[in-house]
């Protein structure tokens, strides 16, 4: 046996090892959801401690009947659904996978370049607050992709490799909506903390057709009443989100978590008031 033979064999083994490692690293997790027209898929990716997988169930899909697959093999999971954002979190009990890091926030993405996991780039064009005159329960990012729109659930990352958004609904051949990473963090915090996805309720009313987010009424005994919010107050800031209109307020309220105290800044007449609201779970 010549030394060249051994060298060739060694090269083949190394190449196979690299390809196997790459295949594992690129392990194709996906989720399938039954729907009226058959099953629909979403990309899934590990987050948190590596046992939570995030996917997106688009309209019409039965999110709570979703199944997580790893390279085509269905994994036993617990399923958590956020009915508002349609984000689905699968919890596996097996060994942890290497989780993708999540960026601190996705609220400052407009105009920035994003990397699409699996190839390609995208650019965050702006925030979508309403579609066809319908106010969204949370604002979406509009992404213009350099190539074809990735599948729902595909993570979009910044230059450091941290996930800043998750691909959602496709709007055209090269554009689509995306959920900011804040949604993933909010849902994941609920799932990891309380083992369920819940919504916060503060007991105040707003009118969608009003020019500014002005409180029209406050429920007696609600967290808003307890904190001192009054009818006629104009909301300026909820948490770390500045509000300029009704849609901004709706978006900020989506991120309220029951039991988590949230600073609120409002305007009453000419006076600016800061107070703290602690939402309760919405029944």
């Amino acid at each position: 046996m010549s030394s060249s033979y051994w060298r060739c064999l060694l090269a083949l083994v190394v190449a196979w090892s690299i390809s196997a490692f790459a295949a594992h690293a690129q392990s194709a997790w996906d989720a399938v959801f039954p729907g009226p027209g058959g099953e629909s898929g979403s990309v899934a990716f590990p987050v948190g401690d590596g046992r939570f997988f995030v996917a997106v169930a688009l309209s019409e899909m039965q999110a709570d009947a979703g199944r997580l697959r790893s390279s085509g093999r269905v994994l036993p999971t617990e399923v958590f659904v956020d009915p508002v954002s349609r984000l689905v979190v699968f919890h596996v009990s097996g060994p942890a996978e290497r989780a993708l890091p999540l960026a601190a926030t996705g609220s400052d993405l407009v105009g920035s370049e994003l990397r699409v996991k699996g190839g390609g780039t995208g650019k965050a064009g702006g925030w979508i607050k309403q579609i066809n005159g319908k106010m969204l329960p949370l604002s979406l990012l509009k992404i213009e992709y350099s190539a074809a729109v990735p599948r729902a659930g595909t993570p979009l990352m910044d230059s450091t490799g941290a996930v800043v958004a998750v691909a959602h609904q496709t709007t055209s051949a090269k554009t689509g909506y995306a959920l900011p990473v804040d949604v993933v963090k909010r849902v994941l915090a609920d799932v990891q903390g309380a083992g369920k996805v819940s919504r916060g309720w503060i007991g105040l009313n707003l009118r969608p057709d009003a020019a500014v987010p002005q409180v029209t009424s406050v429920k007696d005994g609600s967290p808003s009443a307890s904190a001192g919010v009054k009818s006629g107050d104009v909301l300026l800031e909820v948490g770390d989100r500045q509000l300029s209109d009704y849609a901004d307020a709706v978006n900020a309220f989506y991120y309220l978590r029951p039991g988590v105290s949230t600073p609120v800044r409002l305007k009453r007449g000419t006076q600016e008031i800061s107070l703290s609201l602690t939402p309760v779970e919405k029944r």
């Binding site: 508002v84 954002s85 005159g133 329960p137 609904q169 309720w201 105040l204 009313n205 969608p208 307020a249």
Partner: protein, 130 residues
């Protein structure tokens, strides 16, 4: 044969006493006016045409009444056929004009409770509770 000087002298004497016959100058004047009318009729333009037509019509004699009747019939029929239909030119019914400027109805904004982006999705309207 050449006339003699005496003969020429007697002929000149006779010419000196020659006079135009009676009515010569009246005919001259009539002939002058007739020729003038004929020259005017030959001129171009509507007046010339009219004069020629009237001259031609006058020269037709008794058959001019038949021509006249035919022309009148053709004129009446042409007017009858070319007259616009009364139904077509009937004026449109008057449209009442509302001068009151009514404010536009406010568009009801729907609030979606979930990210259901289908066109058929429906949200709630009016005051929203959070």
């Amino acid at each position: 044969m050449k006339p003699s000087v005496e003969e020429i002298g007697s002929l000149l004497a006779l010419k000196r006493h020659e006079r135009p016959e009676e009515g010569y100058f009246d005919d001259f004047l009539r002939e002058f006016h007739q020729r003038r009318r004929e020259e005017e009729a030959l001129k171009a333009g509507p007046s010339g045409w009219l004069r020629r037509a009237s001259a031609w019509f006058s020269s037709l004699g008794a058959s001019k009444w038949a021509y006249g009747a035919g022309l009148a019939y053709a004129t009446i029929m042409a007017l009858f056929l070319l007259a616009p239909d009364s139904a077509q030119v009937q004026s449109a019914p008057p449209v009442p004009v509302n001068y009151k400027v009514a404010p536009a109805e406010p568009v009801a904004v729907e609030q979606l409770n979930a990210l259901d982006l289908r066109p058929s999705s429906q949200g709630s309207t009016g005051e929203q509770e959070f």
